[in-house]
């Protein structure tokens, strides 16, 4: 056994496969070649923060494939998980009990939270009330593993990793839940053509907007290689390197598109046929190898309107967060919490007073 934490923390007692600390991204340093990184599914992270009363951009744990097991070394801690994954709690003297996702849970010292396989999407999120007491780098707690940049040495959580907590105990109030898991929508992924659609033949643009592509096996936080019809350039695939964004769809000389995700390089020299709109980035960030997708073109004005509506929807989901109701009965404790102590769990604004917002939040994209 490892020595106990002297300050409140969660300790990894079994590492997962690929769990990293992420906030909403390290913006403002791309001119130095510094990738933005950040949560692949920002909606998931924002909702997980809302469930524990944190500001939306507070860093959480992004879990891919299989989550870690975490031991609570604090008096108590409130955590929340958003995303579809198997969860269970091991408490001393009790048999292991399954826990639900899309809600908060208040854990006690010595508890072990076991995060299992992530299903139905590439990633899920774990947040803690008050956030992790980690040192931001260039204003952000996002992890860019390729260059070892970010908290915990820029590495994924490993065996024995300690995640220091700002709080030694859970905030007062009852545990809360989302009435429904978030609905990410369906249908074709919406894109704005460009910036270099004029580098492609008319047939290539038509093919791109009508074909079905599959996420290839080369899929990670940098991007997704898409298997499907090749796209012909009118001339060379190469351009003088220019800026990239999350959602850029670049097409190298072999004609196979690559959809760039959060760990993308800041600039690149391949022509880009289209860009995924910001409202659909959480959807593509959740794609795994084998996942199918097609594309539909919209204008910038349409993309902006879709994003504004999406922000209203997310705000409504956050407002709908309610005390957990046990199945088949009235939870008196929760009712008291809701009626008598309202405001203690300030879901919309978060417990901003206990945090240094500048330190905790990445700038929103």
């Amino acid at each position: 056994m490892s020595t106990p934490c002297l300050t409140p923390c969660l300790t990894v007692v079994r590492p997962g496969l690929f769990a990293t600390i992420q906030d909403l991204g390290r913006f403002g340093h791309q001119e130095l070649g510094m990738p933005v990184a950040g949560a692949l599914d920002p909606i998931g992270l924002r909702l997980a923060n809302a469930l524990v009363g944190n500001p939306a951009g507070t860093a959480g744990v992004e879990i891919a494939l299989l989550g870690p097991a975490l031991k609570v070394e604090a008096d108590s801690v409130r955590v929340a998980v958003v995303g579809s994954m198997a969860l269970s709690l091991e408490r001393e003297g009790q048999s292991a009990q399954p826990l639900e996702s899309h809600r908060s849970h208040t854990l006690a010292r010595g508890d072990i939270l076991k995060l299992g396989a992530v299903t139905g999407a590439a990633v899920a999120y774990l947040t803690v009330a008050g956030g992790f007491a980690l040192e931001p780098f260039l204003g952000s707690l996002s992890t860019y593993v390729r260059a070892g940049i970010g908290p915990l040495g820029g590495k994924p959580l490993g065996d024995g990793t300690r995640l220091p907590l700002h709080r030694n105990d859970a905030p007062p109030g009852a545990d809360v839940e989302l009435p429904e898991p978030p609905d990410y929508g369906g249908g074709p992924v919406r894109v704005v053509l460009g910036p270099q659609e004029d580098r492609f033949t008319a047939e290539a643009v038509e093919t791109f907007l009508s074909a079905t592509y599959r996420v290839g096996k080369d899929a990670d936080r940098m991007g997704l290689r898409l298997d499907g019809p090749t796209l012909a350039h009118t001339g060379s695939a190469d351009i003088p390197s220019d800026g990239l964004v999350t959602g850029s769809i670049q097409v190298p000389g072999n004609g196979q598109p690559i959809l760039l995700l959060n760990d993308h390089q800041t600039a690149g020299g391949y022509a880009k046929i289209a860009t995924v709109i910001s409202a659909d980035l959480p959807r593509v960030g959740r794609l795994s190898p084998g996942g199918a997708l097609s594309f539909r073109a919209v204008t910038v004005e349409e993309a902006e309107a879709v994003r504004r509506r999406q922000e209203q929807t997310i705000a409504a989901w956050v407002r709908a967060i309610r005390p957990v109701r046990p199945a088949g009965g009235v939870d008196l404790e929760a009712l008291y919490a809701e009626n008598l102590v309202s405001g203690v769990v300030d879901i919309v604004n978060g417990n901003g007073d206990i945090l240094n917002r500048e330190q905790m939040c990445g700038r929103a994209p």
């Binding site: 001119e31 800026g243 959602g247 600039a267 860009t275 994003r307």
Partner: protein, 240 residues
């Protein structure tokens, strides 16, 4: 003075000043970059300068393309090309054969002796056009025309950190171990990226660089000092 706006979804657009890689075009990119840094437009997230275009990144939850582009167009009317010169750096390079594994092949392909190639590489003051690829990776030009050669047809999976390399009319120092397709001609012993520095990236777009050949003993001494955290990168500044 034609400027072209291209679209990168609903979070960014590019202001393109030309098609090629040249100093006058890049000077216009950097001038607009400098002005927008001072402008503090609401919802503007950042601007990213590249060879011939400036990427303007904005938050569509706060502002809109129409508003940001209008503000950028207003700044364009005032953006003068003239700009304070960036820092001039003197970067040591050891051109020993084991540190520059493509030196022999490249000089043969160019019809030059290795010594001539090294002399030419060190003969020019380079301009940092932009950074990209990895944190601190600087695209510098212009390489003397005699040294022009496209990137390798087979990129390497692993290029050591510090590798000094060329491709086309450009040169660079790889700040990290990474894949890479440029011709490796030497090694720089001092870190181009150091997370412990207040400003982790040494070179900024608009800076200038001179390469200075050092022998193996000096290379080893500088490498050891850098590895021990005893190297002060300010000593590389040629201008105070």
């Amino acid at each position: 003075m034609d400027v072209r706006f291209t679209t990168a979804g609903d979070t960014a657009f590019n202001v393109e000043f030309g098609e090629g890689i040249d100093r006058p075009t890049n000077a216009r990119v950097m001038a607009l970059h400098a002005r927008l840094k001072l402008a503090a437009l609401p919802g503007l997230v950042e601007t990213v300068p590249t060879f011939r275009s400036l990427q303007v990144v904005y938050d569509p939850a706060v502002t809109s393309r129409r508003e940001v582009q209008a503000a950028v167009e207003a700044e364009l009317a005032h953006a003068a090309d003239a700009r304070a010169e960036g820092t001039l750096w003197r970067l040591p390079v050891c051109y020993d054969a084991d540190l520059g594994p493509d030196l022999a092949e490249l000089s043969a392909a160019l019809g030059l002796s290795a010594d001539r190639l090294i002399a030419l590489h060190g003969s020019t003051e380079y301009f940092v056009y932009m950074l990209g690829f990895m944190p601190g990776f600087a695209y510098m030009g212009d390489l003397p025309a005699e040294l022009e050669k496209p990137r390798r047809s087979e990129p390497r999976v692993r290029v050591p950190a510090g590798s000094v390399a060329t491709a086309g009319r450009l040169t660079t120092v790889y700040p990290w171990e990474s894949p890479g397709g440029w011709h490796l001609i030497g090694r720089c012993p001092v870190p181009l990226y150091d997370g412990a520095r207040p400003s982790p990236v040494l070179l900024a777009a608009g800076d200038r660089v001179r390469f200075e050949a050092v022998d193996r003993a000096r290379f080893d001494a500088l490498s050891a000092a850098a590895a021990a955290g005893r190297f002060d990168s300010d000593t590389l500044r040629a201008t105070p």
